[in-house]
Amino acid sequence: MDLFHNLAIGFATAAQPANLLYAFLGCLLGTLIGVLPGLGPLATIAMLLPITYALQPDAALIMLAGIYYGAQYGGSTTAIVVNLPGESSSVVTTIDGYQMAKQGRAGVALATAAIGSFFAGCVATLALAALAGPLTATALLFGPKEFFALMILGLILASVLSSGPFIEGIGMVVLGMLLSLVGTDLNSGSQRFAFGIPQLFDGLDFVPLAMGIFGFAEIVKNLEQDDKLSLVTQKITNLFPTRDDFRRMVPAMLRGTALGTLLGVLPGGGAVLSSFASYTLEKKLSRHPEQFGKGAIEGVAGPESANNAGAQTSFIPLLTLGVPSNVVMALMVGAMNIHNIHPGPEVMTKNPTLFWGLIASMWVGNLMLLILNLPLVGLWVKLLTIPYRYLFPAIMVFCSIGVYSINSGTFEVYEAALFCVFGYVLIKLQLPAAPLLLGLVLGPAIEENFRRAMVLSRGDATVLLTSPLSASLLAAAAIAIVLIMLPTIRARREEALQE
């Protein structure tokens, strides 16, 4: 069996003591930073990126993946204990998780989240391993026009799912794509929008932009709203769910995992969509819908399983097609590029140990999180008591050193400062930054494939609609736009995405 053979390669890589150590460190640091209020996975990865610079590519990727899961799990802890979602994917966890904590069942809620995440992680890893081969094979059949259509679909879906009006999300995508054109045009070798600044010849770096917007500007925003955290301070004692809890959480976990695994694969999907969908589903199916919002364990088990499954399977489009489906994945692209890995169908064929090692380490990472989090819950909760005035300078320091270390130059530091101001403007205008980053990451590939498709068709744009595969991808994008414009769906989306 190919699958088992491949997984064996993967586990051989992941189980090397050094890689185990990096996976462990990644999970530990990811949770440590991710647990801090106001820091989502994106900011956490951006902050911890410099730590991986010195590592070998496979070790660096394994550690980054660990950081990502750790951050994700840390966010859930914050959601349950202080009613503050680190990121949109744990928004729904605050609803019932915090209520459970208020009833003195914080330990049970945290354990439920950990068990649900672990189970979902196992299933999603298998799904990833099983789907990677066939999807990569499909990707190799894709020509320029199909890739173009696929990326357009991904960007449209991502804008549909971001908060705020759809048209503004699309505007941010296009703006991001325009920013991505800064630098050398690969076809002609000429400079565009570089204004003679040599540091811009390679294009705008992703990391300073992400840190400026999600690190620095976010701090300015957090300092403005000095709301006190409502920490549930009582000691967390009982971690173990009762038999009745198990009876209620297991089906929710199964459903959440299935839903998350499926939705994570979608371009534009991932953890956020999965957790919302799962919460809605659990509430619909429950015999006691009135308990939701008052500490129903299903409301924690379902979404927490779903967001972890989605977080994991969102690696599928990235690793097989080279298309990041959400901002965190876009940041992973940036991180991989630093290590000279360009995600896409070639990674699996050219670098199988790295590819399967990463997949195997996802499972290892999930196991570590389970082992790490249950005993360390008390420590994480203590971290939450650090006042923000000590915390944010630490974030500033990590981000600044991280930005500097990309090229060992101060140009990137100034770039991040500029994007801090820009990010603040976006916050004030309530424009979503996530689509901007996706546009920035996908822009060059979209232009490249568009130009190639037009060369092949001698400038005939209708070819995008006459080839069945690209036509159906574009049709799906068009359907998404039409659906979002329908008044009823628009209202429900606004309800679901409001924070």
């Binding site: 610079y53 505007g171 325009l178 929008f193 005035r389 050193i401 004030k428 309530q430």
Partner: protein, 155 residues
């Protein structure tokens, strides 16, 4: 004045921002050869995107002026916080080589801490000491990142 008036100031400003970027990119792209659809030059795709963005900007601006638009004001800006944070980052960049990592971090931490309404000198100094030691341990000695630790005059 029943017809068009800016009702949603937030959306109007967002649309104007899109339009401004679109014009900037379009005008700049005019110096690059466009080529034809079959053989695109470096200026083709930027112009195309800029036109799309301009259209989106106009739609958003127009949408903010229709009678159906909900009333929304611009949010209040906190230039002080923004200035402390952005300024501290710029200072870090400017001082890293002349002062070295320790000095630049100290300035970064002290200046950015001022952005907090709960700033105290003692708290910020203690925080700076802890963070500088931590950074030296992790980045310089632990990871061996090439960072100038001490002022360049000493080397």
């Amino acid at each position: 004045m029943k017809g068009l008036a800016i009702r949603n100031h937030r959306a109007f400003a967002s649309g104007a921002l899109f339009l401004a970027f679109a014009i900037f990119f379009f005008v700049t792209a005019l110096q690059y050869p466009a080529g034809t659809a079959a053989k695109m030059g470096p200026g083709y795709f930027p112009r195309l995107l800029a036109i799309v963005l301009a259209a989106i900007g106009l739609v958003v601006m127009f949408g903010a002026m229709t009678p159906a638009a909900g009333r929304e004001a611009l949010r209040k800006w906190d230039f002080k916080g923004l200035a402390w944070i952005t300024g501290s980052v710029i200072l870090f960049g400017a001082l890293l080589f002349p002062l070295g990592l320790v000095g630049a971090l100290f300035v970064l931490i002290m200046v950015s801490s001022r952005a907090s309404p709960e700033f105290t000198w003692a708290g910020a100094l203690a925080n700076a000491a802890v963070l500088i030691v931590l950074c030296l341990a992790v980045f310089v000695y632990g990871l061996g990142l090439p960072l100038p630790v001490w002022p360049s005059l000493l080397n």
